[in-house]
Symmetry: C2
Subunit: 317 residues, 2 copies
Amino acid sequence: MRAAIALSLRGQGRTAPNPNVGCIIVKGTVVIGRGWTQPGGRPHAEAQALAQADGLTDGATAYASLEPCFHLSPRGPRCVELIARAGIARVVIAAADPDPRTNGQSIAWLRAQGITVDTGVLADEARAAMDGFFARQTLGRPAVTLKLGLSLDGCIACGDGSSQWITSAPARHHAHVMRAHHDAILVGRGTWWADKPRLNIRLPGLEDHAPQRILLGHGAPPDGWAIIDDPTRIADIEGASRLMVEGGAQTAAAFLAADLVDTLLLYRAPIILGGGKPGVADIGLPSLDAAHGRWRLVDRRMLGVDAMEVYARARAG
Amino acid sequence: MRAAIALSLRGQGRTAPNPNVGCIIVKGTVVIGRGWTQPGGRPHAEAQALAQADGLTDGATAYASLEPCFHLSPRGPRCVELIARAGIARVVIAAADPDPRTNGQSIAWLRAQGITVDTGVLADEARAAMDGFFARQTLGRPAVTLKLGLSLDGCIACGDGSSQWITSAPARHHAHVMRAHHDAILVGRGTWWADKPRLNIRLPGLEDHAPQRILLGHGAPPDGWAIIDDPTRIADIEGASRLMVEGGAQTAAAFLAADLVDTLLLYRAPIILGGGKPGVADIGLPSLDAAHGRWRLVDRRMLGVDAMEVYARARAG
């Protein structure tokens, strides 16, 4: 299942509004098929994995990070039927599909076909890998990642405003990879005016993957951009299950104050800027106590001399 | 030698102006003596280790984190003589003693006695463990640790000034242990007025170890405190080889601007304060480029939900 979830991440940010599922087909001790939801949402992970294992699937086990789809679509066959037709003997599912058109129906239907179904295997990990889909289904909005490149003392720029660069090349490359895992990227007016960011993905092989560009502000958006006037309007961003907020400090604060940040993606450079521009403006915190218990470290690694730290929301919302 | 260096840390902050040395005596594969410089500077590590191994030292090997002392003192015997008298066959030394009264003379003297001497084993690690002594000898001032308890966004207090507590109990306990590794602790006037910090060590067994309390400011010091009016005056703090600077933001900035910080000791809480008080005030950085290449991560560990990060000076000075 860990392998299936890892595969699911390949589709992250490219399958909206579909979930980015991962699937592995195993026969005996041999992996005979691997699949993940393709860009645009089709083929589904299960269809791809089954096709790869064609002719060998009888009696095999399928590991799917999400309950296979039950609902009919003009775009392709139902995964439950493909699984049954392929002679799969056992299906292991991480998370049930919250979409009301499936939501447990596939599990019941597969069992009715005499197929063994195990559920709840690494469900939290699977939901985290498909956080955008789950946020859309359960919260009615995209999952939001707030990305900040910070000095040790929490600054995103020197006192004179210069910010190129706080972090080193390995961290900036990683941030570009993370852009590719989001359907849309948002910056505030101030950042747009100061940096005119292209928000494209400047890495070999990813040049063509351009997430939607969203401006937080008022008035007419620049060419090629969409605009929203308030963080709560992210629900209106069509075709986006994962939104990355890239700053600046006012925009970061607006999303934090609205409690609309699900993941903090911090790149921390080993520098002190002393008196520089803080990365987060006033979030209207009522007290110090209120700041605690909201974030949980889920990943950390060195990228060159910088540290990447990922914090996940540690409370409901 | 790693064991000898680890022992040397037991004396850190308690042996000034003497070095905090660690020593291990090994015969065959058995450790027969362990010693570290005792509080106040005597007995020396070698004397303690040799006493422990009494009667077994003939032909043994001594590992000392610093070249044994050569100079005569009314307070005790010269370690080189103790070593020779004990019949030690080989002495392994991490770092040569920069004190001109010894500085290589012990190494030559021991060799002249027919004792094998190896030097330079883990010298950098040994110097780091005795940083206060080396700073005094080579820079004429104490080694300075800047301690900061910070939020993810680099704040040391909420916008309303409240700062108890940013970090959790495990991190605060660790900070108290670190106080015990310094001879003196310094805060600025603002912190003194705001917090009236006791700067004692509130941990079982360490209550009696009270580092000197130093105020950065002007005028008469409070009872039980000494005062200096500028960071460059730290050289005048008698009996202190290791100084911990505990804040606030102006004091941190003053030491950083004067390039007088050797170690950054950061306790990072998983909270965002957004618009709180930055931990470091203006340090007069001429450009963003000038901030880079100055700090190197040398230790990191989790303390409860907080992260401790230790950065060492990565440039000369």
